[in-house]
Symmetry: C4
Subunit: 387 residues, 4 copies
Amino acid sequence: MGMWIGRNRKARVTYGFDEIALVPGDVTVNPNEVNCDFSIGEHTFKVPILASAMDGVVDVKFAVAMGKMGGLAVLNLEGVQTRYENPASVLEQIAKADKDACTHLIQKMYVPPIREELIAKRIKEMKKAGIVVAVSSIPQKAEKYGAIAQKAGADIFVIQSTVSTVRHVSSEYKTLDLAKFCKTMKIPVMVGNTVTYGVSLELMEAGISGLLVGVGPGAACTTRGVLGLGVPQVTATVDCAAARDAYFKKSGRYVPIITDGGMNKGGDICKAFACGADAVMIGSAFARAQEAPGNGNHWGMATPHANLPRGTRIKVGVTGSLKQILFGPATLDDGSQNLVGAIVTCMGNVGAKTLKEFQETEIIIAPSIKTEGKLFQTVQGVGMGTR
Amino acid sequence: MGMWIGRNRKARVTYGFDEIALVPGDVTVNPNEVNCDFSIGEHTFKVPILASAMDGVVDVKFAVAMGKMGGLAVLNLEGVQTRYENPASVLEQIAKADKDACTHLIQKMYVPPIREELIAKRIKEMKKAGIVVAVSSIPQKAEKYGAIAQKAGADIFVIQSTVSTVRHVSSEYKTLDLAKFCKTMKIPVMVGNTVTYGVSLELMEAGISGLLVGVGPGAACTTRGVLGLGVPQVTATVDCAAARDAYFKKSGRYVPIITDGGMNKGGDICKAFACGADAVMIGSAFARAQEAPGNGNHWGMATPHANLPRGTRIKVGVTGSLKQILFGPATLDDGSQNLVGAIVTCMGNVGAKTLKEFQETEIIIAPSIKTEGKLFQTVQGVGMGTR
Amino acid sequence: MGMWIGRNRKARVTYGFDEIALVPGDVTVNPNEVNCDFSIGEHTFKVPILASAMDGVVDVKFAVAMGKMGGLAVLNLEGVQTRYENPASVLEQIAKADKDACTHLIQKMYVPPIREELIAKRIKEMKKAGIVVAVSSIPQKAEKYGAIAQKAGADIFVIQSTVSTVRHVSSEYKTLDLAKFCKTMKIPVMVGNTVTYGVSLELMEAGISGLLVGVGPGAACTTRGVLGLGVPQVTATVDCAAARDAYFKKSGRYVPIITDGGMNKGGDICKAFACGADAVMIGSAFARAQEAPGNGNHWGMATPHANLPRGTRIKVGVTGSLKQILFGPATLDDGSQNLVGAIVTCMGNVGAKTLKEFQETEIIIAPSIKTEGKLFQTVQGVGMGTR
Amino acid sequence: MGMWIGRNRKARVTYGFDEIALVPGDVTVNPNEVNCDFSIGEHTFKVPILASAMDGVVDVKFAVAMGKMGGLAVLNLEGVQTRYENPASVLEQIAKADKDACTHLIQKMYVPPIREELIAKRIKEMKKAGIVVAVSSIPQKAEKYGAIAQKAGADIFVIQSTVSTVRHVSSEYKTLDLAKFCKTMKIPVMVGNTVTYGVSLELMEAGISGLLVGVGPGAACTTRGVLGLGVPQVTATVDCAAARDAYFKKSGRYVPIITDGGMNKGGDICKAFACGADAVMIGSAFARAQEAPGNGNHWGMATPHANLPRGTRIKVGVTGSLKQILFGPATLDDGSQNLVGAIVTCMGNVGAKTLKEFQETEIIIAPSIKTEGKLFQTVQGVGMGTR
């Protein structure tokens, strides 16, 4: 297992979504009759898609809409929503900023301190709407914000950083004792991101209730470009799913894994499930919703980094309602709308009645190189046969 | 057989047309002396190319022209031809529609119900011209439309959906009993699409007389993009050809397989035969014919899907007569005209006197990456040597 | 040896120039002291580069210039030079023609019959200048034109077609008996093109004195696109070189192989030698010479094909004198000038004193994918160290 | 080890930076607490990055700035700095020249002879500023310029050519006796470039104190394009690091290796260390500094080659101060600024406390093909977790 990359060194071959495809089943199922429920802790969701804790995607209004439709949106506790009483004007400035000035502006907008009373306020606003409330912070702030969030009524707490491990070394600051934190918290704790079997096992053993999978997922990803770091999502998801299954066998506790990032097309979401994901987390597809706070703009939490900003604001445009994006009817034909429709249609075609069965789909390695200058354009699919 | 894509999971490596090439033979044959006949049921065709059941490609006029020239066109029983007494104005509207409004317009144009008397009428119009008549429907309508079509004089009935299996599960609607259907019908039944050995065998055992091969054939295909589903055509064709040969050995009945989709260049058609195809089915190459009803436009049967449209109208242009496309003389030098000429020239170069011998051609895996910025452009071929 | 491309079928993996690179030697040699002589029959050339028998590249004037500088140009006996007393105006019309009208114009220009007295006249014009004269025809005309050419004083006769074999099957016309032809001719006979070990051996056993290697060399090649046919040049050259060595071992007669086509950059020429070539044949690099008859235009002998034209006229531009292209000084920095300089510099860097040693260079498989959007452009090479 | 590329020939598979990625560690470290010191001879540098001996990058002023910040810049003794008393106007002319005229102008600008008194003068100017002074020449001039440089106070002498070996064959000129030269010199001698285990060992045995690794590193590199020569940097670095370790085991002397060229993104620098590099040498990232003499322009030492120029002047633009490029704060988000920040952040994420530990990072082979037309743009990284 592994190829020689030089005289005395081997490297594993890994795969991303572009390199694989799913094989149709021996049996097909009516897509209207499949079940794609996803559970975390005691909460069950009809839609196995989470919205990323990004400031252009999730605010209170968006989270409520997502919750009402059966999904889960995570609110970032360290963005503009908790730095500004009224973040709308800040978001508008970012949307209107010149492309070149944008990163610098975002850096500036994230300088004002986080106000703890706003953390509680945002959670209560969401709670009042009757949805499952999920919020996130970085590891260094988890103890402090976790306590505030739980007290304010949050249902799920997410700790997220580029690379999360149980064993972080620092003499400069106090590192988080994750096992102790999970024990202290009465609500489920989700942690990410990771990509390896070993760290997944350690995080599960520390007591987490959900795992976010994905570091530098794509070749074009800023983490991969700036730091050289990353594992393609097919291999990362398969490996972390293996850790989940091993941990379940040992402990009897099932910790769902959520593939986060690297999904560029609707088909990539389907592939993530086939690789073993229990759910997926998505950002920019939702940044295109009318309900999203970014006004058709999208940026990551590494963009405002003062010293080493990674990724900039991207104009994704507003293309439809959240309902259209999740359930259709699609007015676009590019696979960016009706994501749940894509999931159940694919499940029907591979013959999976549940997400658990979907995880068993046969995967093939398929060439990803696009041909230029096609003479005979493929317009495949007398598609109504199985739908 | 297969590569590790993660800790506990292997995936087969599959191939598409771009990844392979054909090796010239030890013997070469005068192309004028090769035979490329193709048979389905009792019908034999001089041209082993079928025209896809797509509304921009096949209407009565086109099917008659194709039949007279030795090929076979399939008329779609669920498109505009059976919804409108006079579909010309509908087709014109689609051709003239704005790019952005187009998918929505097509969705609207497919709302009016299918009229059964038009099914019979179209078939009789074709029959009157003395050609072999083939028509298609989705599985759910096969029993109903199959009976009408047979009665009206159709010679071949095609059941087509994105993914076809013998075992389809649904409690919402009654599923087709394919074995019973094939027994009931007096004319040959072709079914598709599939891509696997197992399903091919089951379909043949159910009594079909022809098999369409191809699901999500190319990386750019909408089925692959939207659903993640698909098998590259080289592997799909080789696998289904193996099922054909195994079934023939067991039963003595030869069920031809037709590679459908993913052929972007003339060379891809040749490669499909070398992989084991008995014929190929092609859409957009024919959408460019003067005889095609789409006025130089092309769209698939998944485009009008109300909830999850896939693929849009593509302007392919009108580039010549059907005769030129099939037999030349080519006025274009890009391989989109004189398709039969390409087949027989390739057969001559690999030394195949029949399609059966063509299926034995040596295949190599050849790099598909295009070099940019060439200094020395290749203008290969003092080509009149073997022609 | 070979990969599974489907259930019951294997295919060899083959390589082109883009996929490989050459490894610097343990020893380096002063490039001024290496020898790159090439011999065919009794003729030895200082420059191991042949100019292709293409009408935009070789006329009498060009062949004389090439010969005087130590190389060999092949004049096409079936192009404009033997159809027109004064082909200059025809060449000018082709050069000036509109892109779209061009293929059709070329087809028309090749309709006038070949005039046998012009064959003799062109050969005598070249002969008078004191150079080694090489001319070419297709197999069907070899007996007739070979006799005329030999009588007129030609030194080398070339038989060229897309795919050449010893065993060509036709009842429509009489096929060439190559062994007999080689015996009849008093001058060396070169034949091409081929790409396989088996056919190379058969051709050598038939008595040829030189072999042209290359069918559908690149993924963008028209033979590959239109017919699906081709073998990448690295594998083709290695295989045919193996046949040459096996034949030499058995017979004691050394038949040089000339890699023809698929060389897009100066480095590709070097790679061809490392794969085992004794010489290379090049077209469009020479079409850019001031001495070339095409006025900066280039087209192949398959372009005028009446029924299945492949490849069109390409504007390559006039970039310098033949002397600059062969020996520099280069005013361009893209590797299209000073081709002999590139060969000897590479020989110096891999430590080869002769072409025979150059054929032993270590080859690696190296990634060919270009990175887009480079931050740190590589401007490699404090190059005067080994030069 | 190796793949068949033809009938009787195998080739090793090699890798470049685009093909690999680094795997996050089981442990992570606070990036502020890692150490990335690099030593050559008795000199230790806080910044393990060298600036290339290129005329658009390094002059006295730049070298002093680089030295003061903890890095090392190499001054080219054969460029404009030693040919002109005041090179500023020459550099300005090159910067302002027309793209097409540029290579020819550079050729002309390098014609005036090198003035030995300027060699001494430049070294003394740098020495006076209190930095470690490194200068370079080609092998043929090493004896002469080495003596002058050492006498003038240089601390490190670099011998650089496209391909360097201990055994260079020439009867035309006297070749350098490297072992004798290293013994004669009192200051450390660095030599490059090489890419193979064998030559690395021979060079170390000859007494060098540092090795530059890199010949034709990338597919787009001019050495690869013009000469076909080159080894991708992952394999080259792993192989040369193996030679370093083998030589250290045998001799007890540690000769650092410096990966030079082929690093297109910040992540590539991190990957070079993971492959075993002790330091990296970089050109164009520094050509973009306000302190660089090229005014935002960059060209290599093979550009002025009179007969076979390779590579031309590239406009890279001035994007920030050297301080920003090395340490940030980055105002660009593309990874071209804060290179040291990228190194220590990556070290933190893989859990490496020293460069020696960084060299042990797990490497994977990861797909490098970019997807076009992404629907869901990845804006990865809630990056402040581990930073």
